[in-house]
Amino acid sequence: MTALSALLLRDMRLAVRVGGGALMGVLFFLIVVTLVPFAVGPDLAQLRRIGPAILWLGALLASLLTLDRLLAADHEDGSLDLILMGGTPLELAVLAKAVAHWVASCLPLVVATPLLGLFLNLEPLAIGAVALTLLAGTPALTCIGLIGAALSVALRRGGLLLPVLVLPLTVPVLIFGVAASNAAVAGPMSFGAPFLILCALSLGSLVLGPFAAAAALRHGLE
């Protein structure tokens, strides 16, 4: 337990120090959301209609932004070797890293959502729904991304490989996240069903992600 909390604390501390990416994601989120009206036009009624989709897309891209450094940085400076050698199961160690990444990079996105919702002229109810679905859905994004991060470290290829691997896997999360947000505002579906599926996706990837990532890292050793 000490080992895991130490890892968790170290990663969160790194995220807020010089060169850390904690607020980079929020800035990227803000920029993506700002760019959309330039593409689709400033019509407030239209922006309100597609607002939840814009916010979800922005958050999805922003949450992937810092993921490729999640394991690659530790691999490059040798920390990953020592993490592998320690007595802690690798699955739990990568889970601790994923939790730290979520707290440092995804939680700020959720917090920023209400402000960006105002830009898109969303109703308070819609803003609440988007923020709630992001809170429930971003753990899934992080854990799926974790698999991609482990694969790109194992294959020693960084950069663009990660989004190419990960983005197709995030399709269900995007579908149910946006569906739940829209259902809360416009109907005709109920909010509950897609939201519960979203939660299920998050819980499922919370289990699957660390196992797959640890397996990828172990195979990368050979």
């Binding site: 000490t2 080992a3 909390s5 130490a6 890892l7 604390l9 170290r10 501390r13 790194l14 120090r17 010089v18 060169g19 850390g20 490059e76 400076d77 040798g78 920390s79 070797d81 020592l82 993490i83 592998l84 050698m85 320690g86 007595g87 802690t88 050793l221 050979e222």
Partner: protein, 170 residues
């Protein structure tokens, strides 16, 4: 035990094999007289070419993280830092350290968390004469307390050690 041999003869690979960072394609690694409950890598320290330090964390934060991660809850940090000549630099971000000081900080990890096997890959690189002397003292102390030490090296280690020559014509 000193591992010697020309470049590419497999010194580093052998150390990584023992550390469990490479998988043997045949055969196995066994430790006699160790803790049966724990695997060989869990009883070993591996000091590779990379320092495993984060430049934005301070010296003390780096060391405290590794001691806690490697299972030592409340290790005192002053003693290992002093033993490696880093006393007084505890609150300095690791980014400001020179290559030799970074090496010493990695060595401090070995002292802070006691483990019976030390796997050292080129431990003397980047160390000045004083640092090498200190390293020899630390290794002697480790051996005196019943520890085991395998070091891949090109130069003299500064201690009496058996030699295993890998590859080459020798």
């Amino acid at each position: 035990m000193a591992l010697v041999g020309p470049n590419g003869s497999g010194k580093s690979s052998l150390l990584r094999l023992i550390a469990g960072l490479l998988r043997p394609s045949a055969g196995w690694i066994e430790l006699q007289g160790g803790d049966a409950e724990r695997s060989v890598p869990e009883q070993a320290h591996y000091l590779g070419h990379l320092d495993a330090l984060k430049p934005s964390l301070t010296v003390a934060e780096n060391l405290r993280f590794w001691t806690r991660y490697l299972g030592e809850q409340t290790a005192a940090l002053d003693e290992p830092l002093a033993a490696t000549g880093l006393g007084g630099l505890a609150d300095l971000p690791a980014a400001y350290l020179s290559a030799g000081q970074r090496r010493r900080l990695s060595l401090a990890r070995l002292i802070a968390v006691p483990r019976p096997i030390w796997l050292l890959d080129e431990p003397t690189s980047a160390l000045d004469a004083g640092g090498q002397g200190r390293l020899a003292d630390l290794m002697r102390e480790h051996l005196a307390t019943g520890g085991m030490l395998i070091a891949a090296t090109h130069g003299p280690l500064g201690i009496d050690a058996g030699e295993l020559r890998l590859g080459g014509a020798a």
